[in-house]
């Protein structure tokens, strides 16, 4: 026996979940949505998914090579970013634009700010908004062989009544991963059961959004309209997979609820009054920017902490 004993500060044991295991859980939870997207939009969807993931991972690898840092691609976070970005793209997007999006997500939004844990904005959504501005026409072209009509959100905006069942299952136009509410909810349940996320952000987000739409949606207490709004566009994917991104959401328990409320209000605002039918991406990245402020005003009360005495003794 060698006599060298390890010495370190307690605790001397660790739980099983590691960063890459959590990322793997997220990938697993995205699987139903991904598979449905490929099934719904065909092999081109698969191509875009593979390309954005490859572009994200490669960008991270190259970036870290250049700045002489240890490679972190094995933590799988770049894979998650790549997949989320692909799920937020229309299947008609030229492949090189998707690749560029991946480069932007990792190099500009993530690595420039210090890599995993340091970025203040969700990389996938940052890249999506970048692409939306840079290639507006391509990014809003949802016309495929199967779906020649408008997206459900755009249709509703024009006063049409959409088939809620289609939106629930996902047989509609839209980005690769946003159409099937059911697939997203299956993923959400996986995330919750595996303890990756809690309901704090998605619930406060969706509840706020519903309240906003009831008041300002212009359809009054029309449940059909509310459900159609919830099942269309990126709100489900956004609420469960993007707003819950650890790095860019508050860490304080009350902050998470407040953050969800911000996302809900902004989404409602953009959907009701914006130039575009869609608003989830912008709502979330704008809320991301509010996180430091939200955290500052939601420092939790410590156990046994009594409020500062204000009156008398």
């Amino acid at each position: 026996m060698d006599n060298i004993l390890h010495v370190s500060s307690s605790p001397h044991v660790r739980a099983k979940d590691s960063t890459n295991r959590i990322m793997a859980y997220v990938l697993l939870a995205l699987l139903p949505t991904t598979l449905f997207g490929i099934f719904n939009f065909g092999p081109k969807a698969l191509l875009l998914i593979v390309l954005t993931i490859a572009s994200c991972v490669a960008t991270e690898w190259v970036f870290e090579k250049i700045i002489h840092k240890k490679s972190t691609i094995s933590d799988l976070s770049a894979v998650v970013t790549g997949l989320l970005l692909a799920l937020n793209l229309p299947v008609t997007l030229p492949w090189w634009e998707a690749v560029l999006g991946g480069v932007f997500a990792i190099a500009i939004v993530k690595m420039m700010f210090g890599g995993l844990g340091q970025n203040f904005m969700n990389p996938a959504l940052g890249a999506r908004c970048f692409l939306l501005i840079a290639f507006a026409a391509d990014m809003t072209n949802f016309q495929t062989d199967t779906y020649t009509g408008a997206t459900p959100l755009a249709a509703m905006r024009n006063g049409e009544i959409i088939n809620t069942m289609d939106a629930l299952i996902g047989r509609t136009a839209g980005t690769i991963g946003e159409t099937s509410t059911i697939a997203i909810l299956i993923g959400a349940i996986i995330l919750i059961l595996l303890g990756v996320i809690t309901l704090a952000i998605p619930a406060s987000y969706l509840i706020t959004f519903v309240i906003f739409m009831l008041i300002f949606g212009g359809h009054g207490f029309d449940m059909n309209y509310i459900v159609a709004q919830l099942c269309s566009g990126g709100i489900m994917l956004g609420a469960f997979f993007m707003a819950t991104d650890y790095v860019t959401s508050p860490i304080t328990p009350n902050g998470r609820i407040l953050f969800g409320i911000c996302c809900g209000i902004l989404t409602g605002l953009f959907r009701c009054f914006g130039a575009n039918a869609e608003g989830v991406s912008f709502a979330i990245i704008l809320s991301n920017l509010l996180v430091p402020m939200i955290e500052k005003i939601t420092i939790p009360r410590a156990f046994g902490q009594v409020k500062e005495k204000k009156e008398g003794k």
Binding site: A15, V247, R301
Partner: protein, 440 residues
């Protein structure tokens, strides 16, 4: 309704099966015994023997150095060999009395009492103080101080800390299974001091046999209740236990007595009983030698002052594969040791030998802000943020985010998926801030 508990906490691997069913064996020390004069919180005790003196088992060798301090007694008969600095389990060097064991274990006479109920409150506290009873769960706070709160009438809970939430430890478990009457006896003595209090034995529900046994024993004790608690670390943390039992919360600036509670752990209550009833000082305790690297994990009835290495040999020594980490105490809050040539003190309850050191094989990565540490923190803090502030030495921010409330339980480091040593950073910062405050 669920079991009573607190918010937060973690579920580490329990590891208690290794030693929990091993009967307690009495171990008679062979080599020299070492008695550090600081085995408690407060002023060190002052030696009352000199080199060359002969002492008996149970003889006072160091006298309390103030009110918050405790007497120290020899656990063997023999000759005082030296009074010098000696290493203790925490790694510190502490002035210690070294006694050469003559192997005869000649014992002094103790003044036992027939009827405890005939003793006055002052007499009870005096007997506890004389025996050198301290918090035997690890903190080492002198018990007679705890039993003398400013307003004794306001104490309405005497809580026996039977949680034993640290993984691997089984000394309290064995005590509860083998001699529950000593524990309950100790609790009854403390209840005698506080007329308005009720006694509560808080036991984690992973020890149903203990719960049943204690319930059986306390059936005819109207003032004592056995409360099963949810098995969760750190259920045995003083503040967490008070919360679970009474629903009250205390912070770092308060004492349990401020919430009307007095908390003593199993071994302490046993020592109180022995001190009051039998007049016996604290010279022995139950000690567990365990871990996957030990040949025969087991529980010992040991003399205070016994050498760790000697006791490890008594447990069959290490397996051939050896140990990478040796811990005094449990894996969550224990101290890792680089030298086993240290004595068992009143507050040490176990030696844990692990064949593989989990921690050093894992590399910390970037914090992903997942918030698991926030969910785990029993003090409802934001450990990842505190650790960051600590690393940047932002004392003011650290205090604003309530960093000083940390109880150093280690739940945050345990749960962190990025394997960051959060508790370590926070503990260091706390020490720095406390040191700076003292300087002022």
């Amino acid at each position: 309704m669920g079991l009573r508990t607190f918010k937060g906490g973690v579920h580490p691997f329990e590891g208690k099966d290794l030693s929990k069913d091993k009967p307690v064996e009495e171990y008679l020390p062979k080599g020299d015994l070492v008695f550090p004069v600081s085995q408690h919180i407060g002023a060190p005790a002052n030696p009352v023997v000199a080199v060359g003196d002969t002492v008996k088992k149970g003889q006072l060798i160091a006298e309390a150095g103030g009110f918050v301090s405790a007497n120290i007694y020899s656990s063997v008969s023999g000759t005082v060999k030296a009074i010098a600095l000696h290493r203790v389990a925490t790694g510190d060097m502490v002035n210690s009395i070294v006694i050469e064991n003559d192997g005869s274990y000649e014992e002094v006479e103790y003044d036992a009492v027939e009827d405890i109920t005939a003793l006055s409150k002052e007499e009870i506290i005096e007997r506890v103080k004389k025996a050198g009873v301290v918090g035997m769960g690890g903190a080492g706070f002198p018990t007679h101080v705890k039993l003398s709160p400013k307003e004794p009438d306001k104490i309405d809970y005497i809580i026996a800390n039977c949680a034993e939430c640290e993984p691997y430890l089984t000394s309290d478990y064995r005590r509860m299974m083998d001699q529950p009457e000593l524990l309950v006896g100790g609790l009854k003595i403390v209840l005698q001091l506080f007329d308005n209090a009720k006694g509560v034995l808080g036991v984690e529900n992973n020890k149903p046999d203990c719960i049943a046994k204690l319930q059986e024993l306390c059936r005819d004790e109207p003032r004592i209740e056995v409360v099963p608690l949810q098995t969760k670390y750190p259920q045995g943390g003083e503040r967490q236990l008070i919360k679970a039992v009474s629903g009250r919360e205390i912070n770092s600036k308060m004492l349990p007595a401020d919430a009307g509670c007095i908390v003593d752990n199993v071994e302490t209550l046993v020592c109180i009983y022995r001190a009051v009833k039998e007049g016996k000082p604290v010279i022995s305790r139950i000690f567990t030698v365990t871990g996957d690297a030990v040949n025969h994990p087991r529980n010992f009835y040991v003399s205070v002052g016994t050498n760790y290495a000697e006791l490890l040999e008594a447990a069959g020594g290490l397996k051939e594969s050896g140990a990478e980490k040796m811990i005094s105490g449990g894996p969550m809050m224990g101290f890792s040791m680089f030298d086993l040539n240290v004595p068992i003190t009143k507050t040490n309850s176990s030696l844990l030998c692990l064949s593989s050191d989990d921690v050093s094989h894992l590399e910390p990565s970037a914090c992903i802000n997942c918030g698991r540490c926030v969910e785990a923190c029993p003090e409802l803090l934001v450990p990842s943020r505190l650790a960051k502030q600590a690393n940047l030495k932002l004392g003011e921010e650290f205090e604003k985010w309530n960093g000083m409330e940390c109880i150093e339980c280690g739940s945050c480091s345990f749960i962190c998926p990025a394997r960051r040593p959060l508790a370590q950073s926070i503990k260091t910062m706390k020490k720095d801030i406390l040191a700076a405050r003292r300087k002022k």
